[in-house]
């Protein structure tokens, strides 16, 4: 019984924090936000060298063979510093191939994802479908032992940077299929949309009659619903880890502001009207951590608990980060409204993160169902 991180994990946290503080402080994040790709290719290579891109991939494919608890440590720090780039997308693409693919598929794609030469992402939903495996649309047509797929996937993270798509679709009267589609496929169009949070890029992926051979299908054709669910849960867990880091950073920034800013003769943190919302933000952060760490542990060790523990974590985190985003800005007062102060960067992240991989309405509904109501 030990609900804490081990020494290696604490070391990982320190080294990630040090690296990001030095290499990508918020000034750098702001700079990168102005660039077309939104991230630094140079830092991306460094992440690969440090072994963080392949953190959860098996060693034989160039990874470090760590688990989701380790990944949570990495992503908390990434969230804290608002580090931009296709990291989560690539990690999830790796998880898809590692968990759903054959040895041959793993050998083909995982080393590239681990060494940074490949950028992966998931393309699961069209613009109208509800979140969840049932929302995956019928964009495929069975042709031989493969498919021809046509459709438009929405909210695809890092769509213009990715060169490897894990595409979810179904043929009429069939279950979900997950397939790997490379970006150099003809009749593939990736379009980045203007987003609310410049540190998170996404857009639409359009495929027009793209042929998917049997060798590109992860698992059995039409039988990908379980894998899709597993990936959505992993996405929600990853997103929650990033939320924790960001929410804690915003709380810390605001606590510091409340100590420094003097009004009516006192630091504003002296007033309960400021003190109490900050105490609540702290409580929210503690709860998010407890729920997210347990969810990560269950991904590694207790598959039967993944759905419930992930939905509790992401449901609560979606709500709590929204609250903390507002609290941060409100307690900053007018300066919170300016481009200059950092709290707005976290507010934007909170707006981005709430619907990512399911908002609280989706996840609390799922918790209720799993809880027997």
């Amino acid at each position: 019984m030990n609900f804490g991180f081990d020494e290696d994990q604490e070391l990982l946290r320190l080294s990630v924090r040090k690296f990001l503080d030095e290499q990508c402080p918020l000034e750098k994040v702001r700079e990168l936000a102005q660039t077309p790709s939104g991230y630094s290719a140079e830092l991306w290579e460094r992440l690969a060298e440090l072994g963080w891109l392949g953190l959860i991939l098996p060693e034989q494919y160039g990874g470090s063979g760590q688990g989701w608890v380790d990944l949570t440590v990495l992503l908390e720090e990434v969230g804290r510093s608002l580090f931009p780039g296709p990291l989560v997308s690539t990690l999830l693409a790796g998880a898809a191939i590692n968990e759903g693919g054959s040895d041959e598929q793993r050998s083909r794609w995982l080393p590239g994802l681990a060494n940074g030469s490949r950028i992966g992402t998931l393309a699961f939903f069209d613009a109208d479908s509800p979140f969840g495996p049932d929302g995956i649309a019928a964009f495929g047509q069975r042709v031989g032992d493969g498919y021809v797929i046509s459709g438009e996937w929405a909210s695809v993270s890092d769509v213009s940077e990715a060169n490897l798509f894990i595409v979810a679709f179904r043929a009429a009267n069939e279950g979900v299929t997950l397939a790997v589609v490379e970006a150099d496929t003809p009749d593939l169009t990736a379009t980045t949309l203007a987003g609310i949070d410049a540190t998170k890029r996404f857009g639409t992926l359009r495929l027009e009659g793209v042929r998917v051979a049997a060798g590109s299908i992860l698992g059995a054709a039409g039988d990908g619903s379980e894998l899709a669910t597993a990936l959505l849960d992993r996405g929600a867990a990853a997103c929650t880890a990033e939320i924790i880091g960001a929410a804690e950073a915003l709380t810390q920034i605001t606590v510091q502001y409340a100590k420094d800013r003097v009004q009516f003769g006192h630091p504003i943190g002296h007033y309960q009207g400021v003190k109490h919302p900050l105490a609540e933000a702290y409580v929210d952060c503690e709860c998010m951590k407890s729920l997210a760490y347990y969810a990560a542990w269950s991904i590694d060790e207790s598959p039967g608990e993944v759905a419930g523990s992930v939905s509790k974590a992401k449901g609560f985190a979606s709500e709590a980060f929204t609250r903390i985003g507002v609290t941060g800005i409100q307690l900053h007062g007018a300066v919170g409204y300016t481009e200059e102060y950092d709290c707005q960067l976290y507010l934007k992240r909170s707006k981005w993160a709430r619907p990512a991989f399911g908002d609280e309405d989706y996840h609390y509904e799922r918790v209720a169902t799993l809880g027997g109501v």
Binding site: A194, R261, G333, Y337, K351, R354, P355, D361, Y362
Partner: protein, 383 residues
């Protein structure tokens, strides 16, 4: 109790509606050209509906409280352009000039205000004082060398809306630091923005919009005839203008419009794969907003009634200011929740959900409103 208007007032309403039918620029509000708006304001000025609440002898319309209410309500409902182009000048400078200005000052400034030739900004906030306006530090010293004909102003203002386009600033300075009250020793000056020594720096908002500024004053020379009211009376001059705020009817019609937009969004949204309007929680939430917005409107009418019966405008307006914050924050979050993953894209709802707090804070933060209500209305001890 009577929510009907007198025949006289109903006649006025008909006149307003007819005017709107004839003069409201065609097309959507966002498509209006500066020329359209200029034409609109010229027509309004002919009617004396700009400065409608001001006395006729000062060039205003002499409208009754009820007529002002009707005018604002109809304009707001019809989504017309604003009443006059110089928002700050009409809201603050005109009323203060009327109460405290010399005949020469009135002659000099009021006609321009009414005819849309002026652009004023106002300088109250300073970087280190936040909500505590009376703590201002910008100094004006009478220049003995010039025989006392000029003040020399040094200091800095912040959150100055439109300072980058304004021709004049209406501002508070400290003329003496020795005073019995924190509110004494404050003086009101009217300063041309092209005076040597004034520098304007933009403040960019978190969505990249520029309306706020910092304004720096470095040995700015201001003739004493540009002082409004007596030296040391500046607090009274400005607060009198502030009390000029009336029923806040445009505030609640504004919220009504936001609610209409939100309903339209809900009609076109889904929640967990089903139409959002089939979700009872969505429906109830819309019902709650509608009830609270009705309460705001009716709170305004109750205040208006008190004013008609002769009570001065009071801290009661804090109630609606507070409610506005209580509504705008959850309504913005609610709109984002309806959008689902589309909330991650840019768009008017998203911008609104990032900037509501600018609006909320603009009227004094919710905590300030809570303090005003608790201390001034309920009589609880000051913190």
């Amino acid at each position: 109790m009577d929510f009907n208007f007198s025949k006289q007032d109903e006649k006025f309403r008909t006149e307003v509606r007819a005017f709107i039918d004839q003069n409201n620029p065609a097309g959507r509000p966002e498509d209006r050209s500066p020329k359209d708006i200029q034409a609109w304001n010229q027509k309004l000025a002919e009617k004396r509906w700009i400065g409608f609440s001001w006395p006729r002898e000062d060039g205003g319309g002499g409208g009754s409280v009820i007529e002002q209410f009707i005018l604002k309500e109809e304009m707001s409902k019809a989504h017309t352009p604003a009443l006059g182009s110089d928002f700050m000048g009409l809201a603050w400078v005109g009323p203060a000039l009327i109460r405290h200005g010399t005949a020469a000052q009135k002659d000099r400034f009021l006609p321009d205000l009414l005819n849309g030739r002026s652009v004023w900004c106002t300088g109250y906030s300073e970087p280190d004082i936040g909500s505590d306006l009376a703590g201002l530090q910008t100094k004006a010293v009478l220049d003995e060398g010039s025989g006392g004909s000029h003040y020399v102003v040094n200091g800095q203002k912040i959150w100055t809306t439109a300072a980058h386009v304004a021709k004049w600033i209406f501002m508070l300075v400290r003329t003496t630091s020795e005073s019995e009250s924190r509110y004494g020793g404050i003086t009101c000056l009217l300063i041309p923005m092209d005076s040597p020594g004034i520098e304007v720096q933009p403040i960019k908002s978190l969505v990249g919009y520029h309306s706020f500024n910092q304004v720096f004053f470095n040995d700015v020379r201001v003739p004493v005839e540009n002082r409004l009211g007596a030296e040391g009376e500046g607090w009274k001059v400005v607060m009198g203008a502030l009390a000029n705020e009336r029923s806040g009817i445009s505030e609640s019609t504004g919220m009504e419009r936001q609610l209409e937009d939100l309903k339209e969004l809900a009609r076109n949204s889904k929640k967990n794969g089903r139409p959002a309007l089939e979700d009872p929680a969505v429906r109830r939430e819309l019902g709650r907003y509608e009830s609270m917005i009705s309460a705001m409107r009716l709170n305004g009418l109750r205040n208006l009634t008190k004013q008609l019966q002769g009570s001065p405008p009071s801290t009661e307006t804090s109630v609606n200011k507070f409610l506005r914050g209580q509504l705008e924050i959850p309504m913005a979050d609610f709109s984002m929740s309806l959008l689902g993953t589309a909330a991650q894209e840019t768009g008017p709802w998203q911008t609104n959900s990032l900037t509501f707090h600018g609006v909320v804070i603009g009227g004094g933060s919710p905590n300030i409103q809570r303090n005003i209500i608790a201390e001034r209305i309920l009589g609880l001890p000051k913190d």
